[in-house]
């Protein structure tokens, strides 16, 4: 499904900081479950309630000033 501006901004953030990887095989679209997993990882690493949804707290967190380097977090490292 087409993403709205807020969702697109969030996906760009997740891509830029290493939470989401552009699929090498197949199409350029992300599967919703991949985006949800990346959002969950971001929320967990940010000590936010983990919903996998782009809620207000997650958006605010993504707008906070930060370092330009990627984050190393994924579900495996968080475990």
């Amino acid at each position: 499904p087409a993403l709205g501006p807020a969702e697109k901004e969030a996906v760009d953030y997740l891509l830029q900081y290493g939470y989401l990887e552009k699929p090498l095989e197949g199409s350029d679209f992300f599967r919703p479950e991949d985006i949800m997993e990346a959002l969950s990882t971001f929320q967990e690493a940010s000590e936010l309630p983990v919903s996998g949804q782009l809620d207000g707290a997650t958006r605010v967190r993504m707008r906070q000033p930060r370092c330009g380097l990627e984050d190393p977090f994924n579900q495996k490292t968080l475990k």
């Binding site: 290493g18 707008r63 930060r66 370092c67 984050d71």
Partner: protein, 410 residues
């Protein structure tokens, strides 16, 4: 904490190339000096400022675009700064931020500088949101101090600070970690035979071909002379499985059997060779793909994708080569990529060129000897490639040129 690399010395120099306009010079300089001190207080590191010439760590402020940095900044807010990992040493701050000291307004230069120096010293981002190395700026703290996770991270890299180590001037000696390479090399290979152990687009854009105990450079105008592999990379054996250079980290990885060797230029990194644990032994080939900045490792019909700077979940690999690299044979003997994203695979006497969509271009496979090694078909006697060891007779000759490697050997 996450470790991204380390300096092979503990006494480092730094240079402040410019300062922000939002702070008095002495205040900004004091903030940067204090940032270094956070780390030298807990680890046996010393930092000496230099006013001119080359320094290990170089701090500067630049705007949205810079001639000297490929990573743009984004104006006020969002990205504040970035830094390179060891042993590169660049630390850049966004000059559009309101850099401050001693106030809750703006962005505290001391804390951000300390964070970026953490990267420059080898630390990645911490998952503790209160740690200095957390990715998000937590704001000004008047009584700032390092989080235990920051301290544990830096001490994992450089050890704990102890009075005995203070004042030591000498650099760490590099301990040999591998037995000497056997002195009897295999016969000098003939570049015109076509088949290769490995190919690599190395530092400074030089292309290296590996076969048996030898390596040579390949340019558009000819080949460099053949050198023993161990003459260029001390401690490295011949008959390699694969070689790959990562411009992202400036590391060169060599693979043979169940081991990996890691070099920066021609110097082996401490602790190598290491055992290959998470990917299979006896790899076929390796390449760095600039479009996603990942290292790809190939074996049989499968590949692994490896991110050097983040933990990689290898449980999803190997994946089938054919699923990503369309038209490529299994068990390639070598592979390399170009800066524009094109990729070449080598197998036997042929090579396949892939476009940026990773599909084999029309007209491939082509002949390695003719198109890479400057060999031409010949009906008369064969001329050996170089040296006095006869190369195998292939019915081709090779054009050699003065070595582009001479300067690096010097």
């Amino acid at each position: 904490y996450l470790l991204l690399g380390r300096w092979r010395k503990k006494h480092l120099t730094f240079r402040i190339l410019n300062l922000p306009s939002t702070l008095p010079t002495h205040t900004a300089r004091a903030a940067v000096h204090q940032a270094f001190q956070y780390w030298s207080n807990v680890a046996p590191l010393t930092f000496r400022e230099v006013q001119a010439g080359r320094a290990d760590i170089r701090l500067s402020f630049h705007g949205r675009k810079s001639l000297y940095c490929s990573k743009n900044f984004d104006g006020p807010g969002r990205v504040l700064a970035h830094a390179d990992i060891p042993e590169l040493g660049s630390v850049h701050f966004d000059e559009d931020e309101l850099w401050t000291e001693g106030t809750y307004r703006g962005v505290n230069l001391r804390i951000i500088a300390a964070h970026e120096l953490g990267h420059a010293l080898g630390l990645g981002h911490s998952r503790y949101t209160q740690a200095l190395m957390a990715p998000v700026y937590a704001g000004y703290r008047p009584y700032f101090k390092l989080h235990p996770d920051d301290v544990a991270g830096i001490q994992a890299l450089y050890g704990k600070k102890s009075p005995e180590i203070e004042g030591e001037e000498e650099e760490e000696a590099e301990l040999p970690t591998v037995p000497p390479v056997p002195t009897q090399p295999s016969p000098m290979p003939d570049p015109c035979s076509g088949d290769l152990d490995a190919m690599m687009l190395g530092p400074h854009g030089k292309t290296y071909a590996f076969k048996g105990d030898y390596v040579w450079t390949v340019t558009e105008s000819g080949l460099g002379p053949l050198f023993r592999v161990s003459a260029l990379w001390e401690g490295l054996p011949g008959n390699l499985d694969a070689a790959v250079y990562s411009p992202r980290t400036q590391q060169i990885y060599f693979f043979k059997g169940d081991k990996v060797w890691c070099y920066m230029n021609f110097r082996m990194n401490r602790g190598y060779p290491k055992k290959l644990n998470r990917v299979g032994p006896s790899l076929d080939a390796a390449l760095y793909w600039p479009l996603n900045q990942k290292v790809f490792l190939f074996k049989g019909s499968g590949y692994w994708q490896w991110d050097e700077l983040a933990p990689t979940d290898f449980s999803r690999y190997p994946k089938p080569i054919k699923g990503l690299f369309t038209g490529v044979p299994d068990q390639p003997s070598a592979a390399m990529s170009w800066r524009d994203g094109r990729v070449d695979f080598f197998k036997g006497k042929h090579y396949w060129r892939l476009n940026r969509q990773l599909q084999v271009e029309k007209g491939y496979p082509r002949d390695i000897a003719q198109n890479w090694m400057h060999c031409r078909s010949q009906t008369s006697d064969h001329t050996p490639a170089s040296g006095d060891t006869p190369a195998s007779a292939t019915g081709t000759t090779v054009d050699t040129i003065s070595s582009p490697m001479d300067t690096t050997l010097n």
